[in-house]
Amino acid sequence: MNLTSIAARNIGRNKLRTSLTVSVVAIATLFFILLRTVVWSWTSASEFSKKDRIATRHKVSFIMQVPKRYVEEIATLPGVTAVSWMNWFGAKDPKNETDFFATIATDPKSLLDVYSEIKTTEGEKQAWFEDRQGALVGDALAKKKGWKVGDKVTLSGTIYPGDWTFNVRGIYTTTTTNVDRSTLWFHWNYLNESLPPRQKDMVGWIMTNIKDSSQSGRISKEVDAKFDDRDLQTITMSEAALNQSFLGMFSAVLKAIDIVSVVITLIMALIVGNTIAMGVRERTNEYGVLRAIGFLPKHIVRFILAEGVVIGVIGGLVGVLLGYPVVNGALGRVIEENMGNMFPQFKVQPEIAAFAFALAMVLGLVAAILPARKASRLQVVEALRRVG
């Protein structure tokens, strides 16, 4: 019999306590995975952003528009390979007004040039190009609403008043998470033609593909310089920077999640440490016996630490094993369908799971340090005298 097996047996000795502690660690690990997945899912869009894509919008306010002719002018700049434009439409489904999804007016052909990540079939693509009232709908949105190709969809405008009817001509999916799978794209011409003269020929923002991603800074500056002496100035940045600045608005929420993650680990450490301390206290006179027959304080320390690590490992493992079905299966599906615009992909990332597992293990170890030190400092006689 060696020290490791003593540690293992000690864990099995009070099965109730061990299983309670393991459950606490498992819950904390699971929750930690959930929180980090929220952050990952939310921020991943900026990681996947294309480096060779830049965005141009009104300099002062993102809710204001720039003239459509800026698009043509950007297209003439050297190093630009494709340009498309978009306008936020902000329509709602009259059947369910609280259900948010993006509706964007765009130029279909150039949109698919600029966003190579948007995938649809050749037939649907052509059908969409040809139908002035046609719409291309994200697969997540189509699934949620039960829309199929060929359906007529009527939405009510919040910015552009009235009822707007679209024909669903295609369903798209995406290859990366930086493009929302819950957007309804439709012809900008359809919108523009029906606007009063003063609102005509304006676009919300312009997306540009460039040949060489290392030139994105230079071309962005060139674009803004071009329009600097015009009536409306622009601000241009890489897609990554755009997403980043968007996330910046949510920095308070992201910070709150970070704080909660730390609080969780604190609660976990307190509870695990407490359990081990209780075990150590109850076994004080056994440690006395071990010391009396020649074991050194370092041996005592080692097997108390081992006990902490084993609890951390088992709890972490259970948490990770629960994390996959809970996050990917139950929560992920609901979140992707209902909040796809914020969380395009809600899945456990292997590195998050691995980190959570390692954290549980390290916490088990750290939590055992204090009780271990206490036990190792006991005088043999003192320890033997103590009962229960």
Binding site: I27, Q233, G248, N274
Partner: protein, 390 residues
């Protein structure tokens, strides 16, 4: 009954364990209370912007001022509607407003970090229409000039946001900050107020306003006002009580925080309850002999059960109280966060209500009661003979 002092002493004997368990419970109560207080703070800040006797008119179908636009010629029709209060000179108390969010550099943030600030183009009588707004520093803006007043929540936080400084609404169109106002803690305190014409020409909104706000003779006049405004099918307008409007604006963000808070609390609650259970099981096992003795002395099973329940409850109440106190200290801090409905950054504080405090304490006590029940049951089932023998 077994006296409570017995339980208190028992808790004191195991100081470290007691402290760790109470600490766990304190953290859970803290998280629960903090999230609820944050959510209440958002609602309170936004709802505080509304007055029951004020009405806000937007274009039908628009959720908020940002997406609404009304033609100037409708404004005079709205102001002439019966029920709108008149000032001493007989002029209607109300006016069209233009609302735009602008990107502004945050001071002391990371480089390139911009925040959306709401700029409101207001009519000259705005301080009469919104009597809760008071200029506390500097002076009100002169009518017809490119001067502005800023909410006290913005002062010193963003570029150009101090009295005497200026910032641009448009290239070569700077506005000078001449005053700071407070608005009873409402979201107006995170806004910039400029002259209506300045806002219109800077943002290309000539001939348009976003919304019209009017003060009514009394809150009771609202229904008639609404009916008049909305029956005109040509105008396509919608009137809302200002209080209702701001309540709607706060819902998304407040709900988001609440839901996050609930999820977090559920997980922490489960963890800390199991932790408390562990502690109490250990306490029961440790005091097996004592319990046996108590039983032999004639204390009933029920007395033992309740004694251990009291002990875990005391533990939980102490933990809960610590957590609650920590959460209450948050009311001294202010937080800035984006409102999901308007994209506008608003600053608000944690709001503690009696309901939140009670819920947090109940949750804390609940952890003790749930966590203590099974161990107490085990203690009550102790056979005196066996316990005293072992």
């Amino acid at each position: 009954m077994i006296p409570i002092s017995y339980n208190v002493r028992s808790l004191m004997v195991r100081k470290t364990t007691t402290f760790a368990t109470a600490g766990g419970i304190a953290l859970v109560v803290f998280v629960l209370a903090a999230a609820s207080m944050l959510s209440a703070g958002v609602s309170k800040t936004l709802v505080a912007g509304g007055r029951p006797d004020n009405a806000i008119v937007t274009r039908k179908g628009s959720d908020n001022e940002m997406s609404s636009s009304i033609e100037s010629k409708s404004v005079s029709l709205i102001l002439a509607t019966p029920g709108v209060k008149k000032d001493g000179t007989g002029a209607p108390l109300g006016g069209g407003e233009v609302v735009v969010v602008i990107a502004q550099d945050r001071l002391g943030g990371e480089p390139g970090q911009v925040t959306n600030i709401l700029v409101r183009g207001v009519s000259d009588n705005v301080l009469q229409v919104r009597p809760d707004v008071r200029v506390i520093e500097g002076r009100p803006a002169k009518p017809g000039t490119d001067e502005c007043v800023i909410g006290k929540g913005l002062v010193g936080k963003y570029k150009g946001m101090t009295i005497g400084d200026k910032f641009e609404l448009k290239k070569n169109r700077p506005v000078n900050v001449v005053g700071v106002f407070e608005a009873g803690g409402s979201s107006f305190e995170s806004e910039v107020w400029v002259n209506l014409e300045t806002a219109r020409s800077s943002f290309g909104r000539e001939g348009l306003v976003s919304s019209v706000t009017v003060q009514l003779d009394s809150p009771a006049k609202f229904d008639a006002f609404k009916a008049t405004i909305e029956t005109d099918k040509q105008l396509l307008l919608e009137a809302r009580r200002e209080t209702k409007y701001y309540e709607d604006q706060s819902q998304g963000t407040a709900m988001f925080i609440s839901i996050m808070g609930i999820i977090i609390t559920v997980f922490c609650f489960a963890g800390a309850t199991l932790g408390a259970m562990n502690t109490m099981f250990a306490a029961v096992a440790q005091r097996k002999r004592e319990v046996g003795t108590l039983r032999a002395l004639g204390f009933s099973k029920f007395a033992i059960l309740s004694s251990f329940m009291v002990e875990s409850t005391v533990l939980a109440v102490v933990g809960g109280a610590i957590g609650l106190l920590a959460a209450l200290s948050l009311t001294l801090t202010r937080v800035s966060m984006m409102n999901f409905q308007t994209w506008q950054e608003i600053s608000f504080s944690f709001a503690a209500t009696p309901g939140i405090m009670l819920t947090a304490l109940i949750a804390g006590t609940g952890m003790g009661i749930i966590g203590g029940f099974l161990p107490a049951l085990k203690a009550a089932g102790t056979s005196p003979i066996e316990a005293m023998r072992g």
